[in-house]
C-alpha cells in the first residue's frame, strides 16, 4: 500500500522547488523555465505507481517528473542552473534533461516528440532487451494536435508496445485555449482511431492517479504489452513560461486553484494546518540549503567540444 503521506510530501517538494526557481527566473538567474504548478498530482501519482525499473519519457514541462521519479535534487537543480555538476553536465537544462540513474530516459522540448521516442524505447525494452519494464510517456492535451503524436500511436498499437500514455490535460496549448486546437471534448475520443483503450480521470487527486496507473499498468500494459491512455484532467496554476503573460484572469486562476492537488491531498489525509506548515517549512529549508550549495558549483567548461 502506498504511503499517501509521502505523495503529499513529493508534491510539496515539487511546488517549493518550482516556486523558488520562479524567483530565480525573475532575478535573471534561471531562464525560460516551464512549471507544473497545479499539475503535481500526475507526475507524483504516476511515478509512485511505476516500478523503479520502469522508464519515463517527458516533455518540456518536466521538473516535476524528475523529482517524482526520484532525482537527486542537487544534480537536478545544478542542471537547471547550468552547472557542471548537473545531471547532464549542465548542457541539457530543463527541457532536454535525461537521467539514466532514475530511468528518466529523456525529455523533449518540441511538443509531440516524446511519444514516438517512448514508443521506440518501449519496443526495445520488450523485444530487444526482453524485459517486462514499461515506459510511461507524459504529454499535454495540446500534443494531440501534432502529427508525431498520431504517427506514434499508430506504430505503438501495430507493434504492441508496453506504453502507458499519460495525457496531462490542462486545457491549454502554451497560452492558447482548447477551442483553437482540440476538435473533440477529450483526447481519449481520438484513441478509437488506433484501437487504443483509455481511461479518463481527475488528475488532481493523487491517490486516484496512483491507483488508476497501478491498475492499468499491472493488469494491462505490462502483462499484455499493449499501449493504453489515461487522460488526466488537471489545472495549470502558473505561467506557460517566463516572459509570457497569462491569457487567464487572476479570478479564473483563483477558481482553478480550488482544485489545487496539494490542498486536495491535505484534505484527504486530514492534515492539520500546523502539521502542513511544518512539512512546508522543512521542505523549504531543504530546498534552500540545496540551492545555496548548487550556486557554489562550477560552470561547464566543455561547451562546444561536442
Amino acid at each position: 500500500m502506498m504511503d499517501m503521506d509521502s505523495l503529499y510530501r513529493t508534491m510539496v517538494l515539487i511546488r517549493i522547488v518550482e516556486d523558488k526557481l520562479q524567483e530565480l527566473c525573475l532575478e535573471g538567474e534561471a531562464g525560460d523555465l516551464h512549471f507544473s504548478k497545479g499539475q503535481e498530482a500526475i507526475s507524483t501519482g504516476v511515478c509512485a505507481a511505476l516500478r523503479p525499473t520502469d522508464y519515463i519519457v517527458t516533455h518540456h514541462r518536466t521538473i516535476a517528473h524528475e523529482i517524482a521519479k526520484g532525482a537527486d535534487l542537487h544534480k537536478l537543480l545544478a542542471e537547471i542552473l547550468g552547472r557542471a555538476t548537473g545531471v547532464n553536465g549542465g548542457l541539457a537544462g530543463e527541457m532536454h534533461i535525461n537521467n539514466p540513474e532514475i530511468r528518466h530516459a529523456f525529455s523533449f522540448q518540441l511538443v509531440g516528440t516524446c511519444v514516438p521516442v517512448a514508443t521506440g524505447l518501449a519496443y526495445a525494452l520488450r523485444y530487444y532487451r526482453k524485459t517486462d519494464d514499461i515506459v510511461a510517456v507524459f504529454f499535454g492535451d495540446a500534443a494531440s494536435s501534432n502529427g508525431q503524436f498520431h504517427e506514434a500511436l499508430n506504430i505503438a498499437k501495430i507493434r504492441k508496445v508496453p506504453l502507458l500514455l499519460v495525457c496531462e490535460n490542462n486545457g491549454l496549448a502554451g497560452n492558447i485555449r482548447k477551442e483553437y486546437y482540440l476538435p473533440t471534448e477529450t483526447v481519449a475520443e481520438r484513441m478509437a482511431a488506433y484501437g487504443i483503450a483509455c481511461r479518463n480521470i481527475d488528475g488532481n487527486y493523487v491517490g486516484d492517479v496512483f491507483q488508476t496507473v497501478k491498475d492499468v499498468v499491472e493488469y494491462y500494459v505490462r502483462p499484455l504489452s499493449n499501449p493504453q491512455l489515461i487522460e488526466m484532467d488537471t489545472t495549470r496554476l502558473c505561467w506557460h513560461k517566463q516572459g509570457q503573460r497569462d491569457i487567464r484572469s487572476p479570478e479564473e486562476i483563483a477558481k482553478l486553484a480550488e482544485r489545487d492537488p496539494i490542498k486536495l491531498q491535505a484534505e484527504f489525509l486530514g492534515l492539520s494546518e500546523p502539521r502542513q506548515l511544518v512539512i512546508w517549512q522543512e521542505t523549504s529549508e531543504y530546498v534552500d540549503r540545496t540551492l545555496a550549495r548548487v550556486k557554489e558549483d562550477p560552470w561547464p567548461n566543455e561547451v562546444g567540444s561536442r
Binding site: 535525461n98 529523456f106 525494452l125 504517427e151 499508430n154
Partner: protein
C-alpha cells in the same frame, strides 16, 4: 570454400548490405527499420531476412515518427539503421533528425544511428540531393560513397561510430561505370568517417611543367564522371583528384595538403552550388590564398525527366573547359 550467402553482385547497394550483414552477425544490437524494410531485404539481402528476421522492422509511411522511434530504441542500446529510402523524404523527418537525434547526442552519451537514403532521378520531389543541409547541423555525419568498396567500408565505420550518420546511396552512378578494382570482394577495410581518398596524384610538379597542376575535388556521381574522364585518352586530362567521401566531417588535411602543392582547386559537385557543400570548402581554401573555382548544379527544381535532370550536372565539356582554363 562456402560462398558468402548474401553476395549476388557487386554494386553499391549490395556493398552497403554486405557491411550491414557483417556487422549484424557480430553485433546483435543492430536493427534495420523503415518503410518497406522487409520487402527491401527480401530482394536486396535474403541472408538478413533468413538469419535476423526479428531485427528488421517494417514501419508505416511516417518518416518523422520512424526516426524518433529509432532514437527511442537507441536509448535502450539498439543501433538502428533507419531507411527513409528516397532522399527527398528526409524533409519529412528533418525535425526528428535535427531536433531530436542531433541534440540528444549532445546532451547525453552519443549513440549510433544510421539514416539511409538514396538519390533518385525522378523529378521535383524524387530527385533532390539534400546532403548539404545536414552538414550545417552539429551532431550529424554525412557520407556519400562513390564506389562499392567505399560503401562497404564507410557503412562498417558508421555502424561503429558513436553518433548519427546520414548515409547516402547515389543512384545516379550507373553500375556499368563501376571499375573492377572498386568491386573488391576481399577483406573488409573499415574507412573512417572524415577521410577523403586521393583517387590520383598529379603526375606533374608545379615547377618545370608546361601547365599548372590542379586539384579537383568531388563526390558521388560527379566524382565518378571525373574519374572516367581521366581514363579517356582523347581528353588527355591531368589533375589531382580527391573523392571527398565524407561530406561531414571534411578531411581538411588531405584537401589543404593537395592544394598546398597545386595552389588551385576546382570543386565539381553534383548538387546545387548555392550554399552547397563546395561553398564552404571553397571559402576555407580561398582564405588560405589558393585559387578556387566551382562547377555544380543550378539552384532550380529538378525536372521530372531523367535526361533533363542529367543536364543539371556539370557536363564533360564544361569540366574540360574549366580544367584547361585553370591549368593554362
Amino acid at each position: 570454400m562456402k560462398k558468402d550467402p548474401w553476395f549476388r553482385n557487386h554494386l553499391i547497394r549490395d556493398a552497403i548490405y554486405h557491411a550491414i550483414y557483417d556487422r549484424m552477425r557480430v553485433d546483435d544490437s543492430i536493427y534495420l527499420m523503415g518503410e518497406g524494410s522487409h520487402m527491401k531485404i527480401h530482394f536486396d539481402c535474403p541472408a538478413i531476412e533468413k538469419e535476423f528476421p526479428e531485427r528488421v522492422i517494417t514501419l508505416p509511411i511516417s518518416e518523422d515518427a520512424n526516426t524518433n522511434f529509432a532514437l527511442g530504441m537507441a536509448l535502450a542500446g539498439v543501433k538502428p539503421i533507419v531507411d527513409v529510402i528516397t532522399a527527398d523524404f528526409l524533409y519529412r523527418t528533418m525535425d526528428s533528425i535535427c531536433n531530436t537525434v542531433a541534440k540528444t547526442n549532445f546532451v547525453s552519451e552519443p549513440r549510433t544511428i544510421v539514416i539511409r537514403a538514396e538519390f533518385m532521378t525522378a523529378g521535383p520531389t524524387t530527385g533532390q540531393r539534400p546532403e548539404a543541409l545536414f552538414t550545417h547541423i552539429p551532431g550529424l555525419n554525412v557520407v556519400i560513397p562513390s564506389n562499392p568498396v567505399d560503401a562497404r567500408g564507410l557503412m562498417d565505420a558508421a555502424l561503429k561510430e558513436k553518433g548519427c550518420t546520414l548515409f547516402f546511396e547515389d543512384r545516379m552512378i550507373e553500375d556499368a561505370t563501376t571499375r573492377k578494382e572498386d568491386m573488391d570482394e576481399g577483406e573488409l577495410e573499415s574507412i573512417p568517417l572524415g577521410k577523403a581518398k586521393i583517387i590520383r596524384m598529379g603526375t606533374q610538379t608545379a615547377s618545370g611543367s608546361i601547365h599548372r597542376l590542379l586539384t579537383v575535388l568531388s563526390y558521388g556521381i560527379t566524382l565518378r564522371m571525373l574519374e572516367l574522364m581521366l581514363e579517356k585518352e582523347d581528353l588527355a586530362l591531368d589533375y589531382e583528384l580527391i573523392d571527398l567521401r565524407s561530406i561531414y566531417p571534411v578531411d581538411w588535411e588531405t584537401i589543404f595538403d593537395s592544394v598546398s602543392r597545386t595552389d588551385s582547386l576546382l570543386i565539381v559537385e553534383p548538387d546545387v552550388m548555392y550554399s552547397g557543400v563546395g561553398a564552404e570548402i571553397a571559402a576555407q581554401v580561398a582564405e588560405r590564398g589558393a585559387e578556387v573555382r566551382r562547377l555544380g548544379a543550378p539552384r532550380m527544381t529538378i525536372p521530372a525527366s531523367r535526361s533533363l535532370h542529367g543536364l543539371m550536372l556539370p557536363s564533360e565539356d564544361e569540366i574540360v573547359k574549366m580544367v584547361e582554363e585553370m591549368s593554362g
